[in-house]
Amino acid sequence: MEKYETHTHDVIIIGAGGAGLRAAIESSAKGASTALICKSLLGKAHTVMAEGGVAAALANVDTKDNWETHFKDTMKGGKMLNNWQMALYHAQEAPERVRELEYWGALFDRTKEGGINQRAFGGHTWKRLAHVGDRTGLEMIRTLQEKGIHSGIDVYMECTITHLVKDGDRVVGAFGYWRESGKFVLFRANAIVLATGGVGKAYKYTSNSWEYTGDGHAMAYEAGAELIDMEFIQFHPTGMVWPPSVRGILVTEAVRGEGGILTNSEGERFMERYDPERMELSTRDVVARSIYTEVEQGRGSPHGGAFLDVSHRGADYVKRKLPSMYHQFMEFADIDITKGPMEVFPTTHYVMGGVKVEGDTCSSTVPGLFAAGEVAGGMHGANRLGGNSLSDLLVFGKRAGEGAAAYASGKSHASIPAELIEGYANELREPFNNTQGENPYTIHQDLQDVMQLYIGVFRTEENIQTGIDKIEALKERAKTLKIEGSVMFNPGWHLCRDLKSMLIVSEALARCALARKESRGAHSRVDFPESDDGTWGKLNFIVAPKDGAMGLETRPIVEMPDELSKLFTEDK
């Protein structure tokens, strides 16, 4: 076969957003030779788009806040389906992880006393989100990037990993290609951390960047790892609606955190009907369904959304606290949000489901394979609270880096059979050799339409089944793809493998959505509108390959110990 490069490390980390960077910093600090592999240039990962803030019970603004309350908020937001161990570590460790960023040079917005300022967000009892205006993700990724490049990590940019390589049960390497040259590359490693983010590009309207094609989910699945609770995908209540070119771009929850009000075409503040207590700052699942319902029932804005208005806070305040939103609407939609309302509608934002990991070290069910951040599942249960993803990636990025370095320590590298690699290479080159076949862009667009239509905010057995049938048909079509051009920086070719990942993830999403016959968090079944705590509320769904097809089973949730469950009964 054609020649390829080989690199050898103790630990390799796939994905260089917040979780990947944090994992790499920790792995390297523990003495492991660490590689960080990114699909894009360093610092461009999806974390850069996070806006509103990072949730941590620092208690700088609301001094009553503590980890217990953050833990309870997270579990309640996730409808008690969360991996409680993860939610616990997350609540306890987030404050130190945020302070650490400050030690590494981050400049968060300040309180009058000179501490890190915190803002209100949906589902959080207290003002809890540390932030920098509405560009918190950028601040975090720059801080981690800076720390990372001075930590002795080897960074490999614009490199796509396509296959995890196994020796017996355990993963021993990763294979892929350089985007620029199209040449192949093999990384040998004793531990691998997946930090590849989410899957939003399977949908037509999404706040996610192009990288969100579910690579980590799909590669873990192909390597035999279990995925958990894939039916839960978060539709962020507020994406842009108009013009069509920007439909789906995120409108930060900070707009509501800073006092933004939602109204329908009749001028009614409709959240009064859906959640009178928390109103606009209800959890994301509730607000998304409310906006969707208003539009469905004919009370939508001119372009089919709801109105979101923060102009009453005054132009100076809005421009200072929400500068990106101000520019985003001004430049893309000719709308001045300091003078009038925006139009918003739910947009695909975040997948709660993911690689099943245990909370201590983020190890998956495949030895040597770890996962952190959005690609990992369990932490957020059925619905994620805003701000908890940035804290998730810090807390579990660190734990995964630590876990992977410890696992890799003292192990020797396995030999990797040449035939195995040749097989992967041939599979990847196939679209160049096919004389006939489908255009990957066309199938991608068709998949996005299917997911948008059939596996959306509201679901029924009939439409999910239709979705599954259509995904099956797309899988068939995607078996023979044809592309043009050379192997050099060829986006059409890149899409071929990304498409395969998206099809795996879409199928998992749809199959789990069909099987969960209740409504819980982000999963809303019109035919089963109630939550069934006694039955479904006690079950996680597990997806893994079985006899050449996608296997799905239920597994009882792990009950939390008494001292924690007591926290919830004390409330009542």
């Binding site: 990288e211 667009q445 059409g492």
Partner: protein
């Protein structure tokens, strides 16, 4: 729906030429949408970097009708009806393929800048007015368009001597961090070549984040360097201490 004519550079390090495409234009569409249309309908291998399509990641810097722009932020309705739109790679960096250039030099420079260094016994208290100067520079999305228009890099290719505006504000940000204790003035002068900048402000004009690169970053940095090197008292001290 109207139809726009685009002339897009197709080629690699060995050379190339413009290729013409016709693209239907929808309301609010941006140049990046037009490039996507070309990929999906004409040339699937057209190379362009992009990530967020929301002007937050700084990946899709190109030269549109000769001007450095983010393709995701440049609206098709900003051109006159019937106007041909040319799209080229940014000029200051070597072409890899089509609209993708080799920007790796920027990452090498970035790594050389001494990192944030707090005192060992730092008390972590900072006030809003103290962090705001640094926050302005930290808005940078690393689109490298300032690097692209800086004539020291673009026309004179002095990448050996001048780190460029992006990294001037990075040094400035560290220097202005309220809790940083390191002195980077020698680095700014000797390694980063702050003296090369002659304040034409081209960088400030193209910054999509409206960072006042020259006024708030480079000029104060120059002043700090001048204070160190041309202050008669420091000069005398250096003479006496022999450094």
């Amino acid at each position: 729906m109207s139809v726009a004519k685009l002339r897009v550079f197709r080629g690699d390090a060995q050379g190339g030429e413009e290729k013409e495409y016709e693209v239907p234009v929808d309301e609010g569409m941006v140049v990046l949408d037009a490039l996507f249309y070309i990929q999906a309908n004409y040339d699937g291998d057209l190379a362009i970097r992009w990530n967020c399509k929301a002007a937050k990641c700084g990946s899709c810097s190109t030269e549109i009708n000769g001007k450095p722009k983010l393709a995701c932020k440049t609206r098709m309705d900003s051109f006159a009806e019937g106007e041909t739109i040319t799209v080229h790679p940014i000029k200051a960096f070597p072409v890899i393929k089509d609209l993708v250039t080799d920007v790796s030099w920027n990452y090498e420079v970035s790594k050389k800048i001494p990192p944030f260094t707090p005192a060992e016994d730092t008390e972590w208290v900072m006030y809003q007015e103290d962090v705001e100067r640094g926050q302005e520079f930290r808005k940078c999305i690393e689109c490298f368009m300032c690097q692209n228009v800086c004539h020291i890099l673009r026309d004179h290719n002095r990448k050996d001597a001048f780190a460029g505006p992006r990294f001037m504000i990075k040094i400035a940000e560290r220097e202005m961090h309220p809790l940083d204790v390191l002195d980077r003035r020698e680095f700014a002068r000797e390694e980063a070549g702050v003296g090369f900048c002659n304040i034409t402000k081209c960088c400030t004009e193209v910054c999509p984040e409206d960072i006042h690169i020259t006024d708030n970053g480079i000029i104060p940095l120059k002043e700090r360097v001048v204070d160190k090197y041309y202050d008669p008292l420091s000069w005398l001290l250096r003479k006496v201490k022999g450094k």
